[in-house]
Symmetry: C2
Subunit: 204 residues, 2 copies
């Protein structure tokens, strides 16, 4: 097998894990499920990974890199004004809700919910990944705070976590209701709150 083919089968497994775990959770996902979804053999799986846990840890890292790329290259990220980037992020997250539930929900939020007490390495990897995304968002919120709310008592990081909590909670309601109306309403409330903190964007 060429190293190119090996690389491809590893990548297929990482992407399959992202989909299957978001649809079924960690414990219910078997190595057979992952191989079937990736279209690879069990031999190939164990060539790349020692266990399901090792594979899911690699999938969390891959997911983190992949989503970093999506947000870094999204059109809103090019806006010159940091407040435009903050509101652009919220609108971008809202527009992602047009996809299927298992496509817009968070691999890490799903994993940590179920594994926090039983799989410490999975918990830690999800914490690192989610905190890294909050740090990415916090940079824009902090830049907007300095421009538009320099005397604010709140920290940009605390707002970054608040935004992520609303998103994670909204995913739970999207799953429960098989519908994104609650998530959209939550993002509208979140936008109104951030406007109260940072001021509204001027109408173009």
């Amino acid at each position: 097998m060429s190293s190119q083919t090996l690389h491809q089968s590893r990548l297929k497994l990482l992407e399959a894990a992202t989909d299957v775990v978001r649809a079924k959770g960690y414990a219910a996902t078997t190595v057979d499920d992952l191989c079937a979804a990736a279209g690879v053999t069990k031999g190939s799986f164990f060539h790349h990974f020692k266990s399901k846990e090792e594979m899911v840890l690699a999938a969390v890292a891959h997911w983190g890199d992949w989503t970093d790329g999506i947000f870094a290259t999204a059109p809103y990220a090019a806006a010159a004004d940091p407040r435009d980037r903050v509101f652009g992020y919220l609108d971008f997250r809202r527009d992602l809700l047009d996809h299927e539930v298992a496509q817009f929900t968070c691999l890490m939020g799903t994993l940590v919910q179920e594994t926090y007490a039983t799989h410490p390495e999975v918990r830690a990897a999800c914490d690192r990944g989610m905190s890294s995304h909050v740090a990415f968002l916090t940079r824009d919120i902090e830049a907007a705070r300095r421009l538009y709310a320099p005397d604010a008592a709140w920290s940009a990081e605390s707002v970054g976590y608040f935004v992520q909590a609303v998103l994670q909670g909204s995913f739970i309601f999207a799953k429960a209701k098989q519908d994104t109306a609650v998530a959209r309403g939550n993002l509208a409330h979140l936008r109104r709150y951030l406007e109260s903190l940072l001021g509204k964007e001027p109408v173009q």
Copy 2:
């Protein structure tokens, strides 16, 4: 076995399910885990329930009744002013964070995260339970809206869902970080937002 003893073993199983599922998730919880946590035999389990799923559905209903009672009889619920009850609810949820993670997190939010695509009856039961809690909270928000923000463009129900999403997302961060600081920060932001919608409580 007396009917009293039978009733006791059923109740022990329902309470054990609430604890074990919140700590391990649905798929990783076995009937053996539930029997061990409840201190009952497998024979007793299958006397009461046909399957783990049937048992968890009963646990969701039991949890709903139990939490309804906690919120209905909490001291804040006796406040005459509905806005005091809304802010009292937020402070009560904040104070619950003093307990262990598996004690303050939500059985339904945990279950639905993992089972929404694979166990439709569990998903539906969690949706009913979470929506019923939102409806309970919405009654006070609506009464406060009529008094303090009668011309508001937002609906009380949408605020009820927003509050629950912040709580559910905060539980995910409490699990990821094994710490409640982010959850406390989120509840402070949520309180500030609700003050912007309903006005601040006057200082006593």
